[in-house]
Symmetry: D2
Subunit: 142 residues, 4 copies
């Protein structure tokens, strides 16, 4: 799926686990990682010019249609996590990312994940061909 010739675009953001994200068995509740992935995508957008608002102004929203999370280790209160978000090159009308979340203190791998998003017009129609602004973005960065 990845293109060996493509540059690998990865953003990094740190997040310290607050009390309200820890569950009754003292670990980060597994559903909170979906938030961490979104924090990762938002940082990617800021760093590489692909923010939600930029996409929205181009006439699209990009709902997640597939999400796969693989939990490796537990994270705990106050852990500082490093969320790495990497763009997966594709020619199709999708946005795909892979993620790795690490604990800073001991460099343990906590979670890996992938996500797929489709382009939906502001009128609610799925876009089957890649929007022009995305082609331009790919031409610039890939």
């Amino acid at each position: 799926m990845s293109n060996a010739q493509a540059k690998k675009l990865t953003s990094v953001i740190r997040h310290q686990v607050p009390f309200f994200e820890v569950d009754a068995i003292q670990m980060v509740w597994h559903g909170n990682y979906v938030k961490y992935l979104e924090l990762g995508r938002e940082e990617f957008g800021r760093q590489f010019g692909l923010e939600y608002m930029y996409i929205f102004r181009n006439g699209y929203v990009v709902p997640v249609v597939d999400l796969h999370l693989s939990y490796k280790k537990n994270a705990h209160l106050d852990d500082v996590l490093r969320i790495e978000t990497t763009y997966i090159p594709t020619e199709s009308a999708k946005l795909m990312f892979e993620y790795a979340i690490w604990r800073e203190s001991d460099n343990e791998l906590i979670l890996t994940a992938t996500s797929t998003q489709l382009f939906v017009t502001n009128e609610g129609e799925f876009e089957l061909s890649t929007p022009d602004f995305v082609r331009a973005w790919r031409a610039k960065w890939m």
Copy 2:
């Protein structure tokens, strides 16, 4: 603040505490009660014809501008809570509610709260006088 002659409008909804609402010290995380109050208001809206979508179709949104929560007892995993939402009569351009949350199994009072909402037009302006549809609603129910 309450009008002794007014009918007391109260709705009731039940909610069983799921695992993801319990915190690291085995009680419902205190912030989740704000969700329970919203569940209460939504049930009130369904029962008495004041749903968010009805308000929205009348040209308004009703953001919460004041919220006061008083925690009495802890609730725990699997507790069935009874959320009582009572309309506080007022002549001003506000929606005010008071809440009591009880545990069904032992009838313990878990939390009391009050909320105040203002009317904001779909253009984002605060409405200083009570909207007509609210006057009509009050005339019907009070």
Copy 3:
């Protein structure tokens, strides 16, 4: 992965989408479905005697180690969703479920998902062989 001879154990629970689960593009925020899956597993536990607290009293917690969500349609404010949770038979030391979430009003399929949980002792060790209480549960229900 499924055992053709096994009885199919499925639980059903309904959930009406509250305002606080809807995102800025007017659909259920995609991360909230992880909560819906947990609501589904909890209902399964109540119906078939496999509650978290029962597992805990037998000396284990069951963290989710793999989660795969496939989004089919958007759900919206006030939609009543039907969450179906089906036990996936396995001989190994795991709990596996598959899920289908439907909208009641038009019977649209909103999401499918699968989850895998492992057994971890209260001392924090992964259990490599199936715990006795799980063998007993399987013998009773499968």
Copy 4:
């Protein structure tokens, strides 16, 4: 309530509003501010040596028993918020804080709030007199 002679202890932490904290009317969902207050208290704890884990190791948890939020302006996607948390001096067996949340870009005041926490022993009993470690903390900082 405040002691004019006491030093004013205030911590500051910044938080950028992610997509998942914005609601269907494009503003931060009002319940998320309870999370922001907890982020504020946690930063206060780190800066002034009063972390949850420190309190816990001294034999106590500190549940919130009263919370009052006053919403001034709406915050939106990508806003950078500055959360100021100020210790309110008291002689009684409580922890009290006041909060102000500002938007960095235009220095608008978004929310003010107060919280009260009580000391509960690890055995679940309310502590009526101020714990020794809190007296020591007050002697050091006030």
